[in-house]
């Protein structure tokens, strides 16, 4: 989906855990996530800490959207 959106000219960042799959399927901007069942959270952490972690990942994704790249890139 990330590849098709970019093909259509829509700037896209993919947050996912299994980075090799995302790369193979042609996502351009990739942000590695935490785990498969909770990509943007960590149930082992207290709620407040978990939200800080989630925000950091989303901010990383936003950084990816600001970054000029020539080729696929894992942030």
């Amino acid at each position: 989906m990330a590849k098709e959106l970019e093909k259509a000219g829509i700037l896209t960042v993919h947050i996912c855990t299994i980075v090799p799959i995302s790369k193979t399927f042609g996502a351009n901007r990739i942000v590695p996530a935490i785990a498969i069942p909770h990509p943007l959270g960590d149930p082992a952490k207290p709620e407040k800490q978990e939200k800080i972690l989630r925000r950091a990942l989303v901010e990383k994704a936003l950084t990816a959207l600001k970054t000029p790249i020539e080729d696929q890139m894992v942030f």
């Binding site: 989906m1 990330a2 590849k3 098709e4 959106l5 970019e6 093909k7 259509a8 000219g9 829509i10 700037l11 896209t12 960042v13 993919h14 947050i15 996912c16 855990t17 299994i18 090799p20 799959i21 995302s22 193979t24 399927f25 042609g26 996502a27 351009n28 901007r29 996530a33 785990a35 498969i36 069942p37 909770h38 990509p39 943007l40 959270g41 149930p43 978990e50 939200k51 989630r54 925000r55 990942l57 989303v58 901010e59 994704a61 936003l62 959207l65 600001k66 970054t67 000029p68 790249i69 020539e70 080729d71 696929q72 890139m73």
Partner: protein, 350 residues
């Protein structure tokens, strides 16, 4: 009768009879003898080989630390001094396919023995590992177990006997992109003209030189000012309004839906749930923001870090979903987003 060959078989937690998604983080372990599909493989091998051990690893455990999982599994397998390793078959199970492919590749490289696995052609493990390992083409589900096992055993026998391996269409494995020289009966000129004639008559022909398909997409230009953009969210993690009103399938999704979040500050477990059939949804159900980070994006919107969060999110399930469906979803969503002036998208996947 020569001595039976020793085989180690790799399975995930499900086929290894440890458990379902709740056991997907199971660390590598071993059990003596064949288990589950291994019994069928053993039956087909007969006296030729013996499955001395089954190694099992949870799908999440493997996919979340591919290198670490291999480092644990390989010594485990090596300790049995096997002549051959079988993995799966994984059918269309993505994480399992990645695990089978990654393991087979390392077995061949590090232990210098043959390894065979089996997958459905759309399994992501195929694109990643088909060049480095033998992957028998299977159906998308366990309905193709027997056929897959027969082909895997036939190829495994050939590999262990050290005989020459025929082309993919003959042996049933997925093309590895290897060319072999051979003496053809007719010259190139005759073969080319024959092909051309077939083509002109509208009949089928097989090219001798398939063109590689390069399907990379040039990265889209980044945004300059985040505080002026409209940002949309898509998730393949199966987060939907509770009760799944549009009945998005938990596996092999045929549709996506967009849901209004204009008045939503964060996703609550009362109003949203995960319907993805490929991971244990308990953590996502308890707090759906763990998959679809609306809470944080609202914060960033309030603080003016991003301009605006698009008032809808798009939901589908990325579990055995066909590539053609995923492509269609994305094309339709792209049209929608362009019409609504969306500048950028975050996709989250489980």
């Amino acid at each position: 009768m020569a001595q039976k060959l020793k085989v180690v078989h790799y399975l995930n937690q499900f086929f290894g009879q440890i458990g379902g998604e709740d056991k997907a983080d199971t660390a590598p372990l071993k059990k003596d003898g064949p288990i589950g599909p291994g019994r069928l493989f053993q039956e087909i091998f007969g006296q030729y080989a013996e499955i001395v051990c089954t190694v099992i690893c949870g799908d999440n455990y493997f996919s979340e630390h591919i290198e670490g999982a291999k480092e644990e599994l390989i010594p485990l397998i090596k300790s049995y001094h096997p002549d051959l390793v079988l993995a799966g078959p994984a059918f269309n199970a993505g994480r399992y396919g990645v695990a089978c492919g990654a393991l087979c590749q390392s077995i061949v490289e590090q232990l210098n023995i043959p390894a065979v696995t089996g997958m459905f052609p759309e399994n992501p493990g195929v694109a990643l590992y088909r060049k480095s390992t033998y992957i028998i083409e299977t159906k998308s589900s366990t309905i193709g177990m027997k056929q897959a096992a027969e082909k895997m055993v036939a190829l495994a026998k050939k590999l262990t006997k050290g005989g020459s391996i025929g082309p993919p269409e003959e042996e049933g494995y997925i093309s590895r992109g290897i060319r072999k020289n051979y003496f053809a009966e007719n010259t190139g000129a005759k073969r080319a003209v024959d092909m051309l004639l077939q083509k002109m008559e509208g009949k089928s022909f097989t090219t001798e030189y398939p063109m590689p398909v390069f399907d990379c997409v040039t990265p889209v230009h980044p945004v300059d000012n985040l505080n002026q953009i409209t940002l949309a969210l898509i998730s393949t993690g199966g987060i939907v309004p509770k009760g799944n009103p549009d009945r998005i399938e938990s596996s092999g999704a045929s549709k996506y839906r967009k849901y209004d979040i204009s008045n939503i500050e964060q996703l609550t477990s009362e109003a949203y749930e995960a319907v993805h059939g490929g991971y244990d949804p308990s953590h996502a159900n308890a707090d759906p923001n763990r998959v679809l980070p609306i809470d944080v994006l609202r914060e960033l919107e309030r603080e003016g870090v991003i301009g605006k969060l698009y008032p809808y999110f798009y939901a589908t399930v990325g579990n055995g979903t066909s590539v053609s469906n995923a492509r269609r979803f994305a094309q339709e969503i792209a049209d929608d987003l362009r019409n609504d002036g969306v500048d950028a998208v975050i996709i989250s996947s489980t």
